[in-house]
Amino acid sequence: MDKKTVSTIAYLSRLSLYGENEDKITKDLENIIKFVDQLDQVDTENIEPLASPLEKTAKTRTDNITAKNRKEVFLERSPKSNDDYFLVPRVVE
């Protein structure tokens, strides 16, 4: 794990790492990756990955509308909104 990799994954995560922390974070990540690398020794050929302990496909139900439109309730929790939309800085000039 080098600083370039760390800055790439930081960007993928939309996080910025400040200068003072960068060395420590790089070292921590390196140690954690080294720690999980022990999984490499296990023979997992033909083993189906287990994504959830239930292993059931999601139950389906009839597609009825059950929720009420509560637009105002949700918009008022936004840091910035108008009557109809969440507001963010202009994307298209």
Binding site: T5, V6, I9, A10, L12, S13, R14, L15, S16, L17, N21, K24, I25, D28, L29, N31, I32, I33, F35, V36, D37, Q38, L39, D40, V42, T44, I47, E48, P49, L50, A51, S52, P53, L54, A58, K59, R61, R70, V73, F74, R77, S78, P79, K80, F86, V88, P89, R90, V91
Partner: protein, 483 residues
Amino acid sequence: MSVQYKSIKELKNMLNNRDISHTELIQETFLNIKNNSKLNAFITLNEEESLKKANNLDNIAGSGSLAGIPIAQKDLFCTKDLKTTCGSNMLSNFIPPYSATVIKNLENAGCISVGKTNMDEFAMGSSNETSFYGNVQNPWGENLVPGGSSGGSAAAVAAGIVPAASGTDTGGSIRQPASLCGISGLKPTYGRISRWGMIAFASSLDQAGPMARTAEDCALLLNEMCSHDEKDTTSIDEAIPDFTENLNSSIQGLKIGLVKEFDLSKLDNDVVQIFEESKKHYESLGAEFIEISLPNISLSVPTYYVVAPAECSSNLSRFDGVKFGKRCDNPKDLEELYIKTRSEGFGDEVKRRILIGSYVLSAGFYDAYYKKAQQVRRLIKNDFDSAFKNVDIIMSPTTRGAAFEAGSKGDDPIQMYLEDLFTIPANLAGLPAMSIPNGMVDNKPIGLQLIGNFLDESRLLQAAHNFQISTDWHLKTPSGSKS
């Protein structure tokens, strides 16, 4: 009559006999919360609403099985119109427009949610030191951590402030703090309790559960917390038994598995000694011990530290400063809004796990880490499946030792990760597991872990209750033994 350290069962009797009114109970609860404010167990209190509910119960008899019982809710559950921070600066202003299903279930049963408890930020930690709202103090000692992530819930119950608290457990976050604070805590089978309205950390591992003074109280709470929920696609649609029904049945002939691969020689002598005494006690109750092998168990922690960060990095991408929660000041464009908001809103441990998650999920590494970890996860689950052909429950210490001092794990995250060595396997396999107090080391409590087979919470609670009616470890309090 003091209500401090009383169990749910005792408080129910006091209320039924009119030894105390609902209002008096809630008033004294808030007095105890304030007298214990140095513990920093609560982030938000719900005093006015709680007193209103108590007053209503005094005027109109409540019908729920837990009518008037004060409960502390982990600040990870959404509570309608009550601030929900998840221990993070990111949600320091978040007031949910709805309550989690499990909160609704408890309140429908009559529970009064007196406040929201402190926790490791987004449930990522084992000492409550990652909370944006400061450390929680373990009632058993000033500099001791309460464990985590449900540290505030465990401390509030251990200090006798409330008889009950909700917790969540992704890798041990109910059981480890229960062990370190000397209380009882149960992580049910994955899917037993709805996750709807729980702020997600690792969706295939997260499970809510009860924290209380006794196994019997955990059963009373579990009875109300469980429900099949159409809003959670992983909610199990199976019959929910009355978890109190078999509590008093004898455990004669119970087969208890001891994991050959758990190397207890690395633990403190005191912890091993206490574990041996608990074994003897179970033998005296009629249980028999069988050595079992879980060959891949030693890979649980590394497996967890791929799966959990991967799911966390995905779940926490929703915190972008647009729809709710914190937003940075004056972003120059949309990208800066995301990056600055997230960098300011998340603490170091959360960032570390998001970064690990992004790394193990990124193109080129996905197969080597994420897929590999999921394959090992299956091997671990298969090991449990084989073991449960020969035993009814599995027993181990809950933690490697008693509560440690804040700051003592240094700044090496892996040392903290190993704190959950004994608890993580049950989350990977989705199995129910609980921790009950079974001894003291230097006047600090430690816990015994019982792991059950899929959906077999009843047997765990029965084994725990049988232990508790014949021992008094669960009656010890930081201010001496309870009379």
